[in-house]
């Protein structure tokens, strides 16, 4: 019964499972080595020489974003928040991706900039580029470090591999294929990884739906979850039946849904600032589109990417829904098997266990399993009362199978703590997959880590080599020198990421903190790009100070507001300026405040400073000064404006269907 042992869960792999992983690694390395001979100059290596067809860049675009943090995090959110999580896809991504394709790609690609910071240099000035490239370079290293930590942590807990060894082996694989084939091999392997992720997770979803009785079975169970959200320990206050199945109907009031948000914060904070800030300005994804082989291919890249992005909730969020729905069966029939999400381990006090041990293990009819579970919970402060039925089920099992006291204790301890949402995916893999399929699914997980990491590394390489090294350290070197630098940057980036992975290992909540810092940086930068592309009057000083002040306002905002029951950096709970229902609401409003500040500062400073660039210099960089893209000779589906509108209609339909 694998789910029972969940939180100490260690999966035993068969030779075949290892073979599948090894075959995958051989293939990605092979791609890197095969591409080596195409790497003739620094542009081949760092920006793929603008040579890749749209369907490849489109899938890479989505794959670079689909790092393991995304896969694990979205499944966790699916369990925690239900269908509300799909907002991160259908509101929080699709609209921004279509906007990028139609309105922004012409400038990124048409300007011939080699990176997003370089566009800022062409459009504004050197200091804006400097600010953006340094903060971006730091972010990518932190991002890939965290991603690697998560991978090594998972492999060591799940498969019992050595942490250091998993960390080094996985990062060396990524380093080797990027070192050989540069951005091209990162993009090509991302396509392989894309298909692996799809083929690895799809059967798990299929089997989960089979167990739970299809979509109708899932919906019915999720209604039970919503109606019992408080007793299941999912929310502090009791929510309605549709809390886990509906996208919009509970967003009128922040206390009526599991995220603690209302629709205004969601639509403007997530749907506008955060999603546009990420998809339209983050060089990690934009770089894929900039590597396309023609202007039309570049504009179609984000459009092609929206199609898998729209379907992905089925692969990454539905597992979370299935897991939490399975948990609801514990409500009606106490049984250890109804346990789908692993628990964090909690230690039972030695003295308390001594008094309970004999009564639990013995066949004491006067001490029912439910009473035993109650006694264990009462004696353990960190234990969660919603685990009671499950613990009762375990006591029953202990008695039936005559387990030894030590074994009984560890079994109970493993299932006593709070839900470990990060284990949703792995719990389900273990629940359904036989040998073979298990290897495939784990390989998919491995692939998602590598694609996310490779995205960070290649973006870092380009920004470091062109925007920092070439601009500030070595201006007029030969192209071969920059190519060499690109390779050095690959190695250095990986080494720094490994270092940061160890830092991340020391701090439990570093991931949350970094998510927040990413928000600090992305939201104001979006203002700079937006004004830069659509207002020719916007000046360099305006962009620089807008971004700077926007970031500072983010920090102040975070410092002086609190989340319910939490404390802020500069103030205690009572003195805070505002108290938010949840960290996510705080995040959304923070993004809005920071974007708003940056936009306001840019507006004012632009009007009081002199333009430094003439209309002629801004041709191809600003909307009003650039000839419109004509697609007269393209078939309808290759016209971004038409396919983009179709995508948006489908997206609206999805929102209405799941409203």
């Amino acid at each position: 019964m694998p789910p029972l042992l969940a939180s100490s869960l260690q999966i035993d792999l068969h030779f075949l499972d290892y073979a599948i992983m090894v075959i995958y690694v051989v293939f990605v390395l092979g791609i890197g080595f095969a591409l080596k001979r195409y790497m003739k100059n620094s542009e081949d290596f760092l920006i793929s020489g603008r040579s890749i067809p749209a369907w490849v860049t489109g899938l890479a675009f989505i794959s670079a974003n689909l790092g393991a943090l995304e896969v694990i995090g979205m499944a966790a959110s699916g369990a925690k928040y239900g269908m509300l999580t799909t907002h991160f896809y259908w509101i929080g991504a699709i609209v921004a991706m279509v906007f990028l394709a139609i309105f922004m790609m012409p400038f990124y690609y048409g300007s011939k900039a080699r990176s997003a910071p370089e566009y800022l240099k062409m459009r504004f000035d050197e200091k804006t580029r400097g600010l953006n490239s340094v903060s971006f370079a730091v972010m990518t290293i932190l991002g890939s470090g965290i991603s690697m930590h998560a991978l090594a942590d998972l492999l060591s807990k799940l498969l019992g591999w050595n942490y250091d060894l998993s960390l080094v082996i996985c990062s060396v694989v990524v380093m080797m294929y990027i070192f050989k084939g540069g951005l091209t091999s990162a993009i090509y392997t991302e396509v392989v990884q894309f298909f692996l992720i799809v083929f690895g997770f799809a059967p798990v979803v299929f089997l989960g739906l089979k167990e739970i009785g299809g979509w109708e079975g899932l919906t019915a169970k999720l209604h039970t979850v919503g109606a019992n959200s408080q007793s299941m320990g999912l929310t502090d206050n009791q929510l309605g039946e549709t809390a886990w199945t509906s996208m919009w109907s509970n967003l009128g009031d922040a206390s009526a849904n599991s995220m603690g948000i209302n629709w205004i914060g969601l639509v403007f904070g997530l749907g506008f600032v955060l999603s546009f800030g990420y998809w339209c300005t983050n060089f990690l994804v934009v770089q894929r589109a900039m590597a396309a082989n023609s202007m039309r291919a570049a504009r179609n890249t984000p459009i092609i990417a929206t199609i898998p992005k729209m379907i992905f909730p089925l692969l990454v969020i539905v597992p979370g829904l299935i897991a939490v729905a399975l948990e609801s069966s514990a409500l009606s029939s106490p049984s250890a098997d109804s346990y789908a999400i692993a628990r964090k381990e909690v230690k039972i006090d030695d003295a308390a266990w001594k008094t309970l041990e004999s009564r639990i293990v013995a066949q004491d009819a006067s001490f029912s399993p439910m009473a035993a579970a109650g006694a264990v919970l009462a004696a353990t402060p960190d234990a969660k009362s919603y685990n009671k039925p499950v613990i009762a089920g375990i006591v029953e099992k202990i008695r039936k199978e005559n387990l030894a006291p030590e074994q009984a204790r560890s079994l109970i301890q493993n299932n006593l703590g709070e839900r470990d949402y990060n284990n949703v995916i792995t719990s389900l893999l273990n629940r359904y997959c036989p040998t073979g399929l298990l290897g495939l699914a784990l390989t998919a997980l491995l692939a998602s880590f590598m694609s996310g990491m490779a995205g960070n590394v290649t973006a870092f390489n380009t920004v470091w080599t062109y925007d920092i090294y070439q601009s500030y350290f070595a201006k007029d070197k030969s192209d071969a020198h920059y190519m060499w630098m690109g390779r050095v940057a690959t190695v250095v980036c990986i080494i720094l990421s490994i270092g940061f992975a160890y830092v991340a290992r020391q701090f439990d909540n570093i991931m949350d903190l970094l998510q927040l810092v990413f928000g600090f940086v992305n939201a104001p930068i979006f203002a700079a790009f937006l004004f830069g592309m659509f207002w020719k009057r916007a000046t360099g000083h305006a962009a620089f100070f807008g971004v700077l002040l926007g970031t500072i306002v983010s920090a102040l905002f975070y410092g002086f507001t609190v989340v319910k029951d939490g404390s802020a950096w500069f103030t205690s709970g009572e003195n805070a300026l505002y108290t938010f229902q949840s960290a996510m609401t705080q995040n959304f409003w923070l993004a809005l405040a920071s974007f708003g500040t940056a936009a306001l500062v840019m507006l004012i400073v632009s009007l009081v400073t002199k333009r430094t660039k003439s209309d002629e210099e801004l041709k191809g960089l600003v909307y009003s000064l650039t000839p419109k893209q004509v697609d007269a000779d393209a078939p309808w589906y290759a016209k971004p404006a038409i396919s983009g509108v179709i995508i948006l209609i489908v997206c609206v339909a999805l929102n209405i269907y799941f409203a």
Binding site: I23, F27, G30, A34, F199, C433, P434, L437
Partner: protein, 78 residues
């Protein structure tokens, strides 16, 4: 390099492996766990992957042939 070649090869190989395991790996090893009906998931999913891999390979071979004869007349299926 046409990326469909390695993708096609990889999935054909993995598909074949899963099919082999589903057929000869023994009943327990190949059946999905915790699901009400017995599904030989390795076999079925292996077939799906094999078909996908072969389609990718086919498309790659087709494109290679097409690029060899510039006029595009000797395309696959003609």
């Amino acid at each position: 390099m046409d990326i469909r070649n390695p993708i096609g090869l990889l999935f054909t190989l993995l598909g074949a492996l899963l099919i082999g395991w589903g057929l000869f790996g023994g009943e327990e090893a190949a059946t999905a766990k915790n699901v009400p009906e017995a599904i030989n998931i390795n076999l079925w999913w292996g077939i799906v992957m094999l078909v996908f891999g072969l389609i990718m390979l086919g498309l790659a071979i087709c494109a290679a042939k097409k690029s060899k004869c510039q006029d595009g007349k000797c395309c696959c299926g003609e």
